[in-house]
Amino acid sequence: MKRRGLRRWISNGMVVIMAVAVVVAVMPLLLILGTLVVKGAGSINLAFFTQTPVPAGETGGGVAHAIVGTLMIVGAACVIGLPIGISAGIFCAEYPANPLARTTRFLADVMIGTPSIVVGLFAWTWIVARQRHFSGFAGSAALAVLMVPMVMRTTEELIKLVPNSLREAALALGYPRWRTSLVIVVRTALPGIVTGVLLAVARVAGETAPLLFTALGSQFMSTDLKAPLAALPLVVFTYATGPYEDWHRLAWATALVLIIVVMLLSIAARLATRQRFDRKG
């Protein structure tokens, strides 16, 4: 009887230790968000969103140039990456046994694990080294390379959730294969695909490493993808590692804005996909 008591004690003790682990694991999130709000919220005002940087060392200025730059770079990355990712995803879901589908699926998994700095270097040798100048477009290409496998995998997973009876019904009614895929299957999976795209956008919008030697960063307002462009994550990096007190202040505020955007996108996407998966079981 005594041993039984001891074993129960150990069992309960381990549960307590694991509960403590949960508290420890949640703490970094609260600490990071808390620090961001405390140090960043005070600097967010109209000037922050509408002005461009003042000369180094002076106080004031904003990050309007980086907001525009991020929109340009990520927008162009979507234009390049989404058609490729989505069509590859539809291919892998609609022809699952095809050898090309298997190869693509495996390589997409490998690509998802590729460090983003390596992708940045790839975009440098591919575009910047050939054109002999940095450009926002090179940054977009790097981000597109990161987006393709993410979008492809979510598209594939969500199309697989579409009940086969829908396909069979459409084919039985004499729909050709392409209309079945596009009008019935893809349209049923569309909300899920859109949330997958949002998730991918949230991921790449916060990426810094692929932009370091492609988009490079800039102090000026510009919408020219052929020239170096600023981006919010690059601003955080430059300002955080710079020597000026006012830069640090702006780095916190920029990081806060960046994280609000990224978190809203990914929370929305996650909630939407979770509902869809739950319905399926």
Binding site: L100, G206, A255
Partner: protein, 333 residues
């Protein structure tokens, strides 16, 4: 439905047989065109990968030709004298990543086991969701937080405490700068935790309830049931989750370069600054002027890429074995 969805439709219209062409006449061209467009998209992925490897190879050819495999065993890094060796970078990458796992693995497994086996139903999803949110925070924000919050905190409280308590170990000796291998490992641990946690949780959820019931019916306490019947069943999947975390840590760039101190040195002390492969590329690439320097950094990227490919492929294989219900060698019972 255990068969992959789409298999039936695939069988109804086998792509290799031109039945649809003869049967449906003119519409087949639209089908072929549609399929052609999709095939182009699917082809883009292998082509991009091949192109990436090719570009890295071409870019590093100069360094490979000059240093060969000595690059991987030499520790010189002198751009002026054109001497390059990657040992401090490889050392720093491995040490920071493994140390991060030492911190993150017990924590993430504890959370995963607690959330699948013990926690009240109501808090399971929300807590998992909160921790998974960590994965959404951009790397550069971790770096910012590391510079201005974590490092001062470690420098003033944790590091002096560790030095006085464990100072007899060479790991915890020497001057405290703040920017250090240990700071990088802690940041990395926070960053990989959500990945390890959420994949192990999925794997644990895939363990059949009969495993737990059988152990408890034999008189095991709930903890004993977990340790003897649930975790062994999920073992290869959990190892896969850990390796996946390792892959993340190895390639992590911005947060690491902002807190590790960026020095081409190998130090015994965890308080000393170090360097990683990814951090060196991020830091030196824009400043490199010599072709050899650029080429050496591309060589580093090629090595990093190959390592992460191997690590990730291994992880996927292990996770796939458990979640697809493939036999795990009778270690279940």
């Amino acid at each position: 439905m255990s068969e992959p969805v789409g298999a039936v439709a695939e069988a109804a219209v086998p792509p290799s047989q031109p039945r649809i062409q003869t049967g449906l006449g003119g519409r087949s061209w639209a089908d072929l065109g549609f399929r052609g467009v999709l095939t182009l998209g699917a082809l883009a992925v292998p082509l991009l990968m091949a192109f990436l490897v090719w570009e890295l190879w071409v870019g590093s050819r100069l360094a490979i030709g000059r240093y060969g495999l000595d690059f991987l065993v030499s520790s010189a890094w002198d751009p002026v004298a054109q001497q390059f060796g990657a040992v401090p970078l490889i050392f720093g990458t491995l040490v920071s990543s493994l140390l991060a796992l030492v911190i993150a693995v017990p924590l993430s497994l504890g959370v995963a086991i607690f959330l699948t086996e013990f926690a009240p139903q109501a808090i399971r999803q929300p807590v998992a969701f909160l921790i998974e949110l960590l994965a959404a925070i951009p790397s550069v924000v971790y770096g910012l937080w590391g510079i201005f919050f974590l490092i001062p905190f470690l420098r003033e409280h944790i590091f002096p405490f560790l030095r006085s308590a464990l100072g007899f170990l060479p790991l915890f000796q020497g001057p405290i700068y703040g920017q250090s291998m240990l700071a990088a490992a802690i940041i990395l641990a926070i960053m990989v935790m959500p990945y390890i946690m959420s994949v192990s949780r999925e794997v644990l959820l895939a363990v059949p309830a009969s495993q737990r019931e059988a152990a408890q019916a034999l008189g095991a306490t709930r903890w004993e049931a977990v340790i003897t019947a649930v975790v062994p069943y999920a073992k290869s999947g959990i190892i896969g989750a850990v390796i996946l975390g390792l892959g993340r840590a190895l390639g992590e760039t911005m947060a690491v370069t902002m807190v590790i101190g960026n020095r081409h040195e190998i130090a015994a002390s965890l308080f000393a600054p170090g360097y990683t492969m990814a951090a060196a590329i991020a830091n030196e690439f824009t400043e490199a002027v010599e072709d050899v320097h650029l080429s050496a950094l591309t060589y580093v990227a090629l090595v990093l890429f190959m390592v992460t490919v191997l690590v990730n492929a291994g992880a996927r294989l292990l996770i796939w074995r458990v979640t697809r219900g493939a036999p795990t060698g009778g270690q279940g019972l």
